[in-house]
Assembly symmetry: C2
Homo-oligomer: 302 residues x 2
C-alpha cells in the first residue's frame, strides 16, 4: 500500500496529538516534524525516532502538511505550503473568519493544484458537522451551542493563547457552561519566575480569545493538578414543536489530532479526483476521512 506522507508543522499539544493519531493509521506515514529552529526540539524523548527539521524542504516528498501552529499563523503557513504544491490540514478556530479564509485559500489551492482542509478540529470541525446535521433533522429552528458543561472542559485554543502570554510558565484554560448558549472561562496559570500576577491577568483578559465570555484567572503552583482531558458540548436546535439535542462528551486527549489526521485522507481523495480547493469538513464526504477502500469498508457501521 502506498502510504500518505505527512509532516507535522509545529510541536505543541495538537502536533503531539497528530503524531499519536498517525501511529494508529496504517495508510499514513509521518515524514517529519517542522519546527524552526529544529535545534529547539533536540534530545526530546518523544521525538527520538522522528526526523525534526527547520524547513519542510529538508524532508522527503510531503503530500500533506498538518498545520499544528496557533490559529493566527495558519493563513500564512497555508499559503506557503500551497505554493509548494503541498496539501494542508488545519484546525483554525476563529469562527467569524472562516468564510473569508476559505475564499482566499480556495483560490490559492486551485492555483497550485492542492487541497486544503480548513477548520477541522473539534469546534469548528466535528461540532460544525453536528450543527449541519441539526439543520437537516430540524429544517426550521435556532441552533445554540453550549460548551463545557458544569464541570468544564479543556479548550485547546484558549490554552495555547494563554501560554503565549509573557510571564506564563504553563496554563490550562477551561470552558464551562454558563446558561444556554453561554460560556465562561476559567484559566489556571503557573507564573514564570518574576512575573506579576496582575499584569498576566490583565493580558489574558485583554486577549481576543477571552473577550466573548467572563473569565476567571487562578494562579496555581503546579498546573498538573488542574489539567483535564474532559471535554463536553451541547448543540441544541428548537422550533415551534421541535426540540432536538446532540450532546457530545468524552475523555479524549487526541480529539483534534484525530480529526486533523483523518482529514489527510480527504485531502488525497479530493486531489486524486482533481477537486482542488479549500474545504471545511461539511464540504467533503465524511467517508473520505475514514480508512478503507471498498464499498463494504466505507459502509461498515453505516
Amino acid at each position: 500500500m502506498q502510504r500518505i506522507n505527512v509532516a507535522i508543522i509545529g510541536w505543541g499539544n495538537v502536533g503531539r496529538g497528530c503524531k499519536r493519531a498517525i501511529e494508529e493509521c496504517k495508510d499514513i506515514a509521518l515524514v517529519g516534524v517542522v519546527r524552526r529552529p529544529a535545534s529547539l526540539l533536540k534530545n526530546r524523548e518523544e521525538l527520538k525516532n522522528t526526523t525534526v527539521v527547520s524547513d519542510i524542504t529538508e524532508l522527503d516528498k510531503v503530500d500533506v502538511a498538518l498545520l499544528c501552529v496557533p490559529s493566527r499563523e495558519v493563513p500564512e503557513k497555508m499559503k506557503l505550503y500551497q505554493k509548494m504544491g503541498i496539501c494542508t490540514v488545519d484546525s483554525y478556530d476563529e469562527h467569524q473568519n472562516i468564510a473569508a479564509l476559505k475564499k482566499v485559500a480556495d483560490l490559492d489551492a486551485k492555483a497550485h493544484n492542492v487541497v486544503s482542509m480548513i477548520g477541522c478540529g473539534w469546534d469548528p470541525g466535528t461540532d460544525s458537522v453536528v450543527r449541519a446535521l441539526m439543520k437537516i433533522v430540524a429544517i426550521t429552528g435556532q441552533t445554540t451551542t453550549t460548551f463545557g458543561g458544569e464541570k468544564g472542559g479543556r479548550s485547546m485554543g484558549h490554552t495555547v493563547a494563554v501560554k503565549a502570554i509573557d510571564g506564563v510558565k504553563d496554563a490550562v484554560a477551561l470552558t464551562l457552561a454558563n446558561g444556554r448558549g453561554k460560556q465562561k472561562r476559567r484559566v489556571y496559570v503557573e507564573l514564570a519566575d518574576g512575573a506579576k500576577a496582575e499584569v498576566v491577568e490583565k493580558a489574558i483578559k485583554k486577549d481576543p480569545y477571552f473577550l466573548d465570555a467572563p473569565t476567571e484567572v487562578l494562579f496555581v503552583k503546579d498546573i498538573n493538578k488542574y489539567n483535564t482531558l474532559h471535554h463536553e458540548g451541547e448543540v441544541e436546535r428548537t422550533a415551534m414543536e421541535v426540540h432536538q439535542l446532540y450532546n457530545v462528551s468524552g475523555e479524549n486527549p487526541e480529539f483534534t489530532g484525530n480529526v486533523m489526521v483523518s482529514c489527510v485522507r480527504a485531502c488525497m481523495t479530493a486531489k486524486a479526483r482533481g477537486e482542488f480547493g479549500a474545504y471545511t469538513l461539511v464540504e467533503r464526504p465524511l467517508v473520505d476521512c475514514l480508512a478503507g477502500v471498498t464499498v463494504e469498508d466505507k459502509l461498515e457501521g453505516y
Copy 2:
C-alpha cells in the same frame, strides 16, 4: 428561483412528514403524492390542496421521488423511478443490506443519469453520520449504538412493520435501551374487530424486524394514549484511554421527513455535477443537503 419538483411516493407517517418538511423549504415544491389507487386518498383533509395520482406519469416533471414506502418495497420502487430518469431518496432501514443495495442502485443510477440517496433517515441516516464522526474523532475503538433510552422512543420502521400485520388496527412500536448496545421493544397494539391477540402477538414476534431484541406486546383500547414523539439514541466509542459519547435526543416528529427532504438538494447538486450514482449520507458533502447558495450561506454556523 427554479424550485426542485418532488413527488411523495406512499402516504404513511414518513410521507406526511416529508410533506410538512417540504412546506419549510422555499426551494422545493411538492408536485404530487403517488398512491395506487389514488382513490384511496380521496377527500383527505390533509391532501385537499395536493394532487394525488395513481402513477407518477400523471404528474408534471418530477426531479426527485421521495420513496415513503415500507423499506422492503424500496429496491423495486427505486429501480422503477431510476429507469424513468427520476432521482430518488429513501430511508431504507435494513442495515445489513445497505452495501448490497448501494451496489445495484449505483449501477442503475449511472445507467440512467440519476442520483439516488439511500438509507437517509434517522438510523441508518443521521446516526450513521454520527458513527462516521466518531471514527474520525477516535480513530481506534469499538462503536456501540444504544437506542431508546430508559423511557423509550418511537421507532418508525417497527411501527410500520406492525401495522402491516393482519388483525392490527393501529400500533406504536417503542424501542427502549436494554443495557449498552442492546435494545428491547415494546409494541402497543389496537386490535381490529374479530382479531385474536395470540395470533397477532405471534406474528409480531416472528417478524424479521423483531427478531433481534426481546419484544413485549401490549394490547390497548386506544392507541393514542401510548403514542409519543420522543426519540433517543446514544453512540459510544471506546478504546484504551478514550471514551467518546454522542447522545441524540429530541421531540421531533418530522425527523425522518426532514432528513429525506434535505437529501433532495444533495441529489440535485450531485446530478448537476454529473456525479450520477447511489450514495448514502456519509458519501456526499453534508452542506449539499442545506439551503443556501453562497459560501457564506454554506458556512453559516460552521
